[in-house]
């Protein structure tokens, strides 16, 4: 179970990233943020977001139409 959950389902680019950025500020260092999204573009975007910001993408998966990401706040 992640420390903070973010439901970004139904939102389109770049809102899942912008909301994740806000949410990750509330996660203590070393803690995790779980994001749910329905935007297929968010798969590439969360990988890019983590590469650039130095946060760690622990999980990136799909369940039906929903994408799930777990990000560790570094």
């Amino acid at each position: 179970m992640a420390d903070v959950m973010l439901d970004a389902k139904g939102l389109n680019c770049p809102l899942p990233i912008l909301k994740a950025k806000k949410a990750i500020k509330t996660v203590p260092s070393g803690g995790t943020l779980e994001v749910l999204s329905t935007d297929p573009g968010s798969v590439a975007d969360f990988a890019a977001f983590c590469r650039t910001t130095g946060n760690e993408l622990l999980e990136s998966g799909q369940d039906g139409d929903t994408y799930r990401f777990v990000i560790k706040h570094v």
């Binding site: 939102l11 389109n12 680019c13 770049p14 809102l15 990233i17 950025k21 910001t53």
Partner: protein
């Protein structure tokens, strides 16, 4: 790349914003707010028609006139409007309303929303003083969180910047 007080290297990006229609407002605000969310120092320079994107009250419009690539999804297909229709009264408002409804339906942020998020993420917004004078706007017509500047202000920032975009 510029060095901040902690001695870490922060990437920087500038965007020159020259257009003020609903469709052209999206790329600069999407890229500016996203870059800021990714830890980039962003400066946006608003000039000519782009300056209107800093007005307190936005009423952005898009015209199908002269834009044959503008196809609206309709009844399972796509429809573009003949140019002759674009000059008819009311067509610009109709197209603008349609696009705003589409963005809402598809979970795309409004320009107001993206601009607020950019301001909140400390994107530095610079309004072109010359454009203000030219089109007779005053600073009080614009949102509070901006600075005024000219070409030299932009060049100074752009020379130190990792990414410079003209939109």
């Amino acid at each position: 790349m510029s060095e901040d007080a902690e001695g870490t290297n922060t990437k920087t990006m500038t965007i020159i914003v020259t257009k003020g229609t609903l469709d052209w407002a999206y790329p600069p605000f999407i890229l500016g707010s996203t870059a800021a969310a990714m830890g980039v120092d962003v400066q946006m320079f608003f000039t000519f028609y782009g300056l209107t994107l800093l007005k307190k009250d936005l009423n952005l419009k898009v015209s199908p006139l002269g834009n044959p690539a503008m196809e609206m999804p309709m009844m399972g297909g796509h429809m573009s409007m003949p140019n002759i229709m674009g000059v008819m009264p009311g067509v610009t408002s109709l197209a603008s309303t349609m696009m705003k409804n589409m963005t809402k339906k598809k979970g795309v942020a409004s320009i107001e929303e993206l601009r607020d998020m950019a301001v909140e993420a400390d994107v530095k917004m610079v309004a072109c003083q010359m454009t203000l004078d030219l089109f007779e706007y005053s600073k009080k017509d614009l949102i509070d969180d901006i600075e005024l500047g000219g070409a030299a202000t932009y060049i100074d920032m752009a020379l130190k910047s990792d990414v410079n975009l003209f939109i």
